[in-house]
Symmetry: C2
Subunit: 199 residues, 2 copies
């Protein structure tokens, strides 16, 4: 039996932190896992910048409420969910993902959670488990699933490589060059076709 | 972080085999996990009866296409999916569940698969893993989730007991009597309220 594991940001919705960097006018926040493979380091650095600017959960959620899924993402996901089981595995946080999941028709998402003070300051974050994408894919395999995975960034590589089939989607030139053995797609039609072949 | 694990038949949709027993006029097929705790024994017995009557996947799928979710089930599930992550963990088969998942708005379901001959005879079945409900709940716990579970039958008891909170839903008098420590509900409103309290 198969289950498809998809990254969220860059694959189904725009990068949330990039949208917030633009909205807030703080260009440093454009740094993502595409640029910084160490997620813990990246998140602590982001929280420092938020604190410095006096920004909290409310301001980020306001930006997120304006974000739409990438063009064609919902149709792709709808088709995929008709064919097989799908789980979005993301390093984002429940407090960010909620409104986006609504716009995508409530697919299942496995992500993390933020620690938020009563005044809205984001004081920390709780990762669901270590190496969450790989660990989750391994857990799904342990209960009888063959996984098929797709993502765009450094933190997706382990789940892609550990899966029966794995695909880069709208990744960076550098990642595509560094992992020439991984099929890389730019359109939802091509990704859907590749997943169908793997099912 | 929380995830709600729900049984399918008897909780969100009618018992598929009971519906098929009525449609086909074979009353023996009314036997379910409520009556026979050994699922493997139950399934082999069912496949024997199907073979005897010359019935296959096509005939069962025709019955399933006419089954509707239980009254209020979709609204309950929709509300729950707005609040938290939900996975249906069922001992049914992908070939049976598909049309029902469509009617429920494509929630994620973890179930099993049938082995079907080219002529439509169901020749066997492949269980995803042993003790699938408990094993799946344990796997979800291993990736950082607290589980909240609900079901109606013998095969739901282990996942209910292994969870942070667990509830019987529209269960038998015997099971309710044998497990007086498990809160038992009859309405979706009561079940939703109990889950909300546990979140």
């Amino acid at each position: 039996m198969n289950i498809v594991c998809l990254d969220l940001e860059g694959v189904l919705v725009p990068e949330i932190w990039i949208a917030f960097a633009e909205e807030s006018g703080i260009p440093e926040l454009k740094r993502t896992t595409r640029d910084e493979p160490d997620y813990d380091k990246l998140m602590h650095w982001r929280l420092g910048i938020l604190k410095e600017h006096g920004l909290g959960l409310k301001e980020i959620q306001e930006t997120i409420s304006k974000i739409e899924p990438l063009e064609g993402a919902k149709a792709f996901l709808d088709k995929l969910r008709e064919l097989t089981q799908v789980i979005i595995i993301s390093d984002t946080f429940t407090q960010f993902a909620g409104p986006l999941m609504k716009k995508l028709g409530y697919p299942t998402i496995f992500c993390n959670s933020l620690e938020v003070a009563p005044d809205g300051e984001i004081t920390g974050f709780k990762m669901r488990c270590e190496n969450s994408k790989l660990t989750t894919v391994k857990a799904l395999q342990s209960i009888g699933y063959d996984t098929i995975a797709s993502g765009d960034s450094h933190n997706d590589l382990a789940m892609i490589q550990a899966s029966k089939a794995g695909f880069l989607f709208r990744s960076t030139e550098q990642i595509k060059k560094d992992y020439p053995e991984l099929p890389a797609f730019e359109s939802y039609d091509d990704l859907l076709h590749a997943i169908q072949q793997a099912l």
